[in-house]
Symmetry: C2
């Protein structure tokens, strides 16, 4: 096929590799963008261009931001002395959607992994220890996934903070909202049982 179709096909192929899209939805999306150039393609292009030039990682916590330091780190109301450690920005957004946390974050950008050559330096753990000192943090909340890698990383951070004047906590494990026991895995049921509370 010729140049025109090649360019459209390349764009569809690129979109189809993004999470949340497949070949069919990428094709429908591109077709819509090409048919509604004024209403759909140009605003999308403007938004992506703005973000591509301004998006960066917050120097302090690693969140995605359009400024060198993100909104959460610059918001004085969030200087609560609590630092929530998350694996990535997706987890930070999930915590923010929950709306239950009013402190600041520390984004690791992954979990400890010998295979992926992710050591404490790559995860910014020394920077976290510095922040605990300079921000005079009272509590570090480990909001890491209940996976082997997530828990290994949590234990490493807890060990690194041992002996400092800061309490280290972790998200509770248990039955999720709306969860039926019949559909839960044994690990979750066991964890929920061990963490049982007076009713």
């Amino acid at each position: 096929m010729s140049r025109a179709t090649d360019e459209i096909d390349a764009l569809i192929a690129h979109l189809a590799r993004l999470p949340g899209l497949g070949p069919r939805s990428a094709r429908r999306m591109v077709l819509h963008l090409l048919q509604k150039r004024e209403q759909a393609l140009h605003p999308l292009l403007a938004g992506l261009t703005r973000l591509a030039s301004s998006a960066q990682n917050c120097q302090r916590c690693g969140n995605i931001s359009t400024a060198p330091v993100c909104d959460i780190c610059t918001d004085p109301r969030r200087a609560t002395g609590e630092i929530c450690v998350v694996e990535d920005v997706a987890a930070l957004w999930a915590m923010e959607r929950g709306g239950a946390f009013a402190g600041r974050y520390h984004v690791l950008g992954g979990t400890l992994s010998a295979l992926d050559a992710m050591g404490p330096e790559e995860l910014g753990i020394p920077a976290l220890l510095d922040r605990v000192q300079t921000e005079d943090a009272r509590e570090v909340i480990l909001a890491l996934g209940a996976t082997v890698d997530g828990q290994t990383t949590a234990h490493y951070i807890a060990d690194a903070l041992a002996g400092r004047d800061v309490s280290v906590t972790a998200l509770a494990q248990g039955v999720p909202m709306g969860g039926e026991l019949d559909y839960l895995d044994d690990g979750t049921i066991g964890a929920a049982l061990r963490a049982r509370k007076a009713f």
Copy 2:
């Protein structure tokens, strides 16, 4: 929330309105783009920018193209004297995926509709009649949807071509590949029965 988050939220909201995407998949897509700026965001931006500046509708058939006349209309091997009339570019792409048609297209851009003020002029039906003349077409294939609007439009075009030296045909209606009778609607079964052929 502040400026940074507003821009990201606006982009997610814009993407979520595109066909094939919803709020969750738009969020995952934007997060991926922002985290993989070099590998994902910049190539996407480059592809969209190229298409936004070059995409246009073919002056002859209405297909999406990066040149004033599209590849199909300029391909001499496709000057077969057959013009396939489709409702929109999505239908043209679907026909091309099928790979069974080697002629040229005419994209109406809709169907006749009094409500949407779509008359013969808006659908380029006079231009189609001109093309039948100038391209010396032997056959006009009506590849319109088996809907009331699609069939109304097909009848209108067939009437407009009556008296000209061109045969007007339409896609066969019947049982789709892999279709089970139990799941087919009565209209399709009736049409397939009326169009039955010697086995």
